[in-house]
C-alpha cells in the first residue's frame, strides 16, 4: 500500500511538472509571438487596408435574446465599426421583450421578403427586416430554439459575405477590432479559414454610449481573478497554440470564419454546449480530412470586452458548463486522437486538452486523495509534500505573472499602476481557495455531463451598459 501511495504521489508530481513545463513553453512561445506581432503591426498601415479595393465583405452575426435595453446601442456601435465592407445581421432569437420593436423604431426596419435559403437547419424564421436608415442592417426574426447556435445558423443562412464574424450582442467591440482581426485573413485568404480576437473582462470599465471610456480593473476579487485567467488563457494559451496552428477555440464572443466552410461543416451544432469549440474542432477535422493547407489564427490586439460573472454561483455554473462543453466536444472527436491523418491536432492539441484540461480536476482530486491516504498511513514524506506544494504554487504563480507581464509589455490596457499592482497580487492569491473551488466546479461539470444534465442555467449579470441580462456564454479559459 505504501509503495502504491508513494508511486501515486510521484505520478501526480510528474503530472504537474509536465503540465507546468508545457505552460512555461507556451509562455516563452507567446512572448516571442507577441513581440513578432507588435513588430509586424509597425509595418501595417490600417488606412491602406481600408482603402484596398479588394477587401472582402464581412457579415457580423449578432444573436440577441431579450436584449431590448441595450440592443440599439450595441447595433449602432457595430454599424460604426471601422471596416469598409460591412453587413450586420441581428438574429432576434424569439425574444419575449421588446428587442425587435426597439430595433424597428430605432433603425426604421421594414419587413422584406428577401431570399432566405435555409441551407443550415434552424428554427423557423418569422420574418426578415431591412433597415431604411442603414441598408447594411438586416434583422432576422426567428422562433426561439433555446440555443445561440441555432440563432447563428439562421444568420448564416441570410449572410451574403464570404466571411462571417460572430459577435455577442452584449459585448463591446473596439472600433478597429474587425479591421485588426481581418489582417491575417487579408494577407492570406486562401489559408486562413478563421481568426479569433482577444476577449477581455468588461467588469469595472467605465462605459459611455456603449463604448469603453476608461479601462479599469474590476473591484471584486472574483472578477480580478478572472481577469488574470483571461490574460493567461488568451495571451499565453491561445497565442502559443495558434503559433503552432493548433488553436482549438475561437471565442464565440468574437471570431471571424470563412462562410463557405462554416456552411460546409453544417454550421453550429445546436445541441453543442460549447458551440464555438465544437465548430473549430469540426473545421479542423473537415480541413484535415480534405488535406487542405489551412490555418486558424489568433490575433491578440482586436479586443472584444465582455462581462464575466461577479458572484460565485454564476461563476460555478459557467465553469461547470465550460467543462461540459469540453467533454461534449472531446468525446465525439476521440477518433482524431493519435491518428496521423489529423497531424498535430491529433497528436498534440487534443491529447493536451484531454490530459491537462478535461482530466485535470479528476487528477487533482486523486492527488489530494493519495496525499490524505499517505498521511493517514504515515507514508507521507512531509518535506516532499511541502516541496511539491511550493513547487506547484511557485510555478503556477510564475505563469500567471508572466501573462500580466506580457500584458504590461505589449498591449497595456490597464493604464493605472494600481490596477497592475492588484493584478500581480492576485497572481499569488488565486491559488487558494479559488483554484480548489474551480476544480470542484469542473468536476461538477463532468458529473453533470455524464448523467445527461444539459440544462442551460442563466448567469446572473450586473447589467452594465450595454450588457444585457442573458449573456451568451463564450468559453475563453480552456488551455489555461
Amino acid at each position: 500500500m505504501n509503495h502504491f501511495l508513494d508511486w501515486a504521489n510521484h505520478a501526480v508530481f510528474y503530472y504537474y511538472l509536465v503540465s507546468n513545463l508545457a505552460y512555461l513553453t507556451m509562455l516563452v512561445i507567446a512572448f516571442r509571438t507577441s513581440a513578432a506581432h507588435l513588430r509586424h503591426l509597425e509595418s501595417v498601415r490600417f488606412d491602406w487596408i481600408k482603402s484596398s479595393p479588394m477587401v472582402p465583405p464581412v457579415t457580423l452575426l449578432v444573436p440577441a435574446h431579450n436584449e431590448a435595453q441595450f440592443i440599439c446601442t450595441a447595433v449602432r456601435n457595430l454599424l460604426e465599426l471601422d471596416y469598409p465592407e460591412l453587413e450586420v445581421i441581428v438574429i432576434n432569437d424569439g425574444s419575449t421583450d421588446k428587442t425587435l420593436q426597439m430595433m424597428q423604431k430605432e433603425f426604421s426596419l421594414r419587413l422584406v421578403r428577401a431570399v432566405y435559403v435555409p441551407q443550415i437547419m434552424s428554427a423557423p424564421v418569422r420574418g426578415l427586416y431591412r433597415s431604411d436608415s442603414d441598408t447594411r442592417l438586416l434583422v432576422v426574426d426567428k422562433e426561439p430554439a433555446g440555443s445561440k447556435a441555432d440563432a447563428v445558423n439562421a444568420g448564416l443562412n441570410a449572410a451574403t459575405s464570404p466571411y462571417v464574424c460572430v459577435v455577442d450582442g452584449d459585448s463591446v467591440l473596439e472600433r478597429d477590432a474587425l479591421l485588426r482581426i481581418m489582417i491575417p485573413v487579408l494577407a492570406d485568404p486562401n489559408r486562413v479559414i478563421a481568426a479569433g480576437g482577444i476577449v477581455r473582462v468588461l467588469n469595472g470599465a467605465e462605459i459611455e454610449a456603449g463604448r469603453i471610456r476608461r479601462v479599469r480593473l474590476a473591484r471584486k476579487s472574483i472578477e480580478v481573478i478572472q481577469v488574470v485567467e483571461y490574460l493567461r488563457a488568451f495571451l499565453i494559451g491561445r497565442e502559443a497554440w495558434a503559433r503552432g496552428n493548433m488553436l482549438m477555440i475561437v471565442s464565440g464572443a468574437f471570431g471571424v470564419f470563412r462562410t463557405d466552410l462554416v456552411r460546409a461543416v453544417g454550421g453550429y451544432r445546436p445541441s453543442a454546449i460549447g458551440e464555438d469549440f465544437d465548430l473549430v474542432a469540426r473545421l479542423h477535422r473537415h480541413s484535415l480530412e480534405k488535406g487542405a493547407d489551412y490555418c486558424i489564427e489568433f490575433v491578440p490586439d482586436p479586443v472584444c470586452w465582455t462581462e464575466v460573472p461577479s458572484d460565485l454561483r454564476s461563476l460555478a455554473r459557467q465553469r461547470a458548463r465550460w467543462q461540459k462543453g469540453l467533454l461534449d466536444v472531446l468525446w465525439p472527436n476521440k477518433d482524431m486522437l493519435f491518428r496521423p491523418r489529423y497531424g498535430r491536432i491529433g497528436w498534440l492539441a487534443l491529447p493536451y486538452l484531454w490530459l491537462f484540461e478535461l482530466l485535470a480536476p479528476v487528477i487533482e482530486v486523486a492527488g489530494f486523495a493519495t496525499v490524505l491516504l499517505a498521511a493517514g498511513f504515515g507514508a507521507l514524506s512531509w518535506p516532499f509534500f511541502l516541496q511539491f506544494v511550493l513547487f506547484g504554487y511557485g510555478f503556477a504563480t510564475v505563469i500567471s505573472i508572466g501573462s500580466v507581464l506580457q500584458e504590461e509589455l505589449t498591449y497595456k490596457r490597464y493604464n493605472d499602476w494600481q490596477d497592475v499592482a492588484r493584478l500581480v497580487s492576485y497572481c499569488f492569491l488565486e491559488h487558494f481557495p479559488y483554484r480548489q473551488l474551480h476544480m470542484i466546479w469542473r468536476l461538477q461539470g463532468i458529473w453533470q455531463y455524464l448523467r445527461g444534465d444539459m440544462v442551460w442555467r442563466p448567469l446572473k449579470r450586473q447589467g452594465q451598459e450595454p450588457v444585457g441580462a442573458d449573456k451568451a456564454d463564450s468559453s475563453p479559459v480552456t488551455a489555461s
Binding site: 498601415r45 487579408l186 499602476w417
Partner: protein, 402 residues
C-alpha cells in the same frame, strides 16, 4: 550564537517554506518595481517626446521651407525620427499643393534618400518598416527600392513591398509588380497582389495586357480579376478578345469590362457570356448587362432571372429594377416567366430599392383583367394559379430585336 543560516538549517522543511515565501515576496516586489520603473520611464519619455514635438511644430514652417538648416535636426537621431514621423503624417492628409511642398522638403532634406537606403540595407522587420515609410512618401524614385523588396526571402517583407507599390498607384509601380510576377510566379497570396495591381493599374490598365498573353494559368487568373476591376473604355476592344478565352476568370473579366464598351456591341457579347457554363461568368455578364441599363439588355436580364444560380438571379433582378420607367411591363414579363425563384428575386430587388409602392401604384392605375392578378402577385409573392400567358418566346423576340 549561531548564524541566521544555522537557524534556517535547523528549521528543516519549514526553512524551505520560509525561503520560498521570501522568494515569492521578493519576486512580487521586483516585478512591481520593474513595472513601476518602466511606467515612470515611459511617462517621462512620452512627456519629453510631446514637448519636443510641440517645439518642432512651433517652427514647422521654418523647418519645411528650409529656413532652419537641415543639418540642425538631421544629425540627431531622435530629432530626425520625430521630423520624419510628423512630415509623413502631414503628407498623408495634405492637399495637392501642400503635398508637393512636403515632398520637395523630404527630397531636399534627404529623408526620401534615407528611406531608400534603409529599405535597401536593412533586414527583417526593420526592412518592413523602411519599406512602409518609403511607400508613404509616394516618391517615384522609391519604386525601384520597393521592387527590390519584392524579391526578399521573407514573405512579410514581400507583402510590405507589394502594398507599398500599390500605394504608389502609378503604372511604373504596376510594371515592377508585373515583371516580378513574370519572374517569380505567384509567391504571395493572390488577394494582396490583386489589390496592389488594381491600385497601380487604375491609371493605365493597358500595362496588364502584354502580361495576360504570356503568363501562366494561375497568374492569368489573378491578372484577369485585376483587369475586370480596372477596365476602362480605352481597353474595351481589347476585352472582346478575352470573351472566348479558355479561362473563366478572363471571360468574367471581359464580361465585367464590357459594360464600358459601346452598348449595342456589348449586349451581343454579354448575352453570349450570360449563357456561359461557369456561374461567375454568367454573374459578371448579368452585372454588365445591368450596368449598361440599355433596353436591348432587358430580355437577357429576364432570362437571367431563371438562372440556376441564386446570385445570378438576384443580380438580374437588380438590373431589371433599374429600368424604373418600364417596371410594369417588365413585371408582367417576370410573372409570365412562371418562375417562382425569379419572381421572388425580382420582388426582393424591388423592395430593396424601395420601388414596390411605385409598382403597386402603376398596377392600380392600369386597366384590364390582369390588374387584380398582378396586385395579388406583388402582395403574396406567389405566381397566379390560373393560366397566365407564358411568354416562352420572350427571349427569341429579344434576340431578334437586339
Amino acid at each position: 550564537m549561531g548564524s541566521a543560516f544555522d537557524t534556517f538549517r535547523k528549521l528543516g522543511p519549514a526553512a524551505f517554506v520560509l525561503k520560498a515565501i521570501i522568494f515569492v515576496i521578493a519576486a512580487d516586489v521586483l516585478l512591481l518595481a520593474f513595472i513601476l520603473l518602466r511606467r515612470t520611464y515611459r511617462k517621462w519619455y512620452f512627456a519629453n517626446r510631446d514637448a519636443r514635438m510641440l517645439a518642432i511644430r512651433l517652427r514647422w514652417e521654418a523647418l519645411v521651407s528650409g529656413e532652419i538648416p537641415y543639418v540642425a535636426w538631421r544629425s540627431k537621431t531622435s530629432e530626425r525620427q520625430l521630423v520624419e514621423t510628423m512630415v509623413l503624417d502631414a503628407y498623408e492628409v495634405a492637399n495637392p499643393e501642400e503635398s508637393a511642398r512636403l515632398l520637395k522638403f523630404m527630397r531636399a532634406s534627404g529623408l526620401v534618400e534615407k528611406c531608400i537606403l534603409e529599405a535597401r540595407q536593412h533586414k527583417g522587420w526593420r526592412r518592413h518598416r523602411a519599406l512602409v515609410a518609403l511607400a508613404r512618401t509616394r516618391a517615384p524614385e522609391g519604386i525601384r527600392a520597393l521592387a527590390e523588396g519584392l524579391r526578399d526571402r521573407d514573405s512579410e517583407t514581400r507583402l510590405a513591398a507589394l502594398r507599398g507599390l500599390g500605394q504608389m498607384a502609378c503604372p511604373e509601380a504596376a510594371k515592377e509588380i508585373l515583371n516580378w510576377v513574370d519572374d517569380a510566379g505567384l509567391v504571395v497570396p493572390a488577394l494582396p497582389l490583386q489589390s496592389a495591381l488594381v491600385q497601380s493599374c487604375a491609371e493605365r490598365p493597358q500595362v496588364l495586357l502584354p502580361h495576360l498573353q504570356h503568363a501562366d494559368k494561375t497568374v492569368r487568373e489573378v491578372l484577369g480579376r485585376v483587369l475586370a476591376e480596372v477596365a476602362t473604355p480605352s481597353i474595351g476592344p481589347e476585352l472582346l478578345r478575352f470573351a472566348d478565352d479558355e479561362l473563366p476568370e478572363l471571360r468574367a473579366a471581359a464580361a465585367r469590362g464590357l459594360c464600358y464598351v459601346n452598348a449595342s456591341a456589348a449586349v451581343t457579347v454579354l448575352s453570349e457570356l450570360a449563357k456561359d457554363a461557369v456561374w461567375f461568368v454568367r454573374l459578371r455578364a448579368i452585372v454588365g448587362l445591368g450596368e449598361l441599363c440599355h433596353p436591348t439588355a432587358a430580355p437577357f436580364l429576364l432570362h437571367g432571372l431563371t438562372d440556376s444560380n441564386r446570385l445570378v438571379r438576384l443580380r438580374a433582378a437588380e438590373g431589371l429594377v433599374d429600368f424604373k420607367t418600364e417596371l410594369l411591363p417588365i413585371f408582367e414579363k417576370v410573372v409570365a416567366l412562371k418562375d417562382q425563384y425569379g419572381l421572388h428575386a425580382f420582388l426582393t430587388a424591388l423592395e430593396n430599392a424601395g420601388l414596390q409602392a411605385g409598382l403597386i401604384a402603376r398596377i392600380k392605375a392600369g386597366t384590364g383583367i390582369e390588374k387584380e392578378i398582378l396586385l395579388q402577385v406583388v402582395q403574396t409573392m406567389k405566381l397566379p394559379s390560373e393560366n397566365y400567358p407564358r411568354q416562352e418566346n420572350i427571349l427569341v423576340k429579344a434576340a431578334s430585336q437586339s
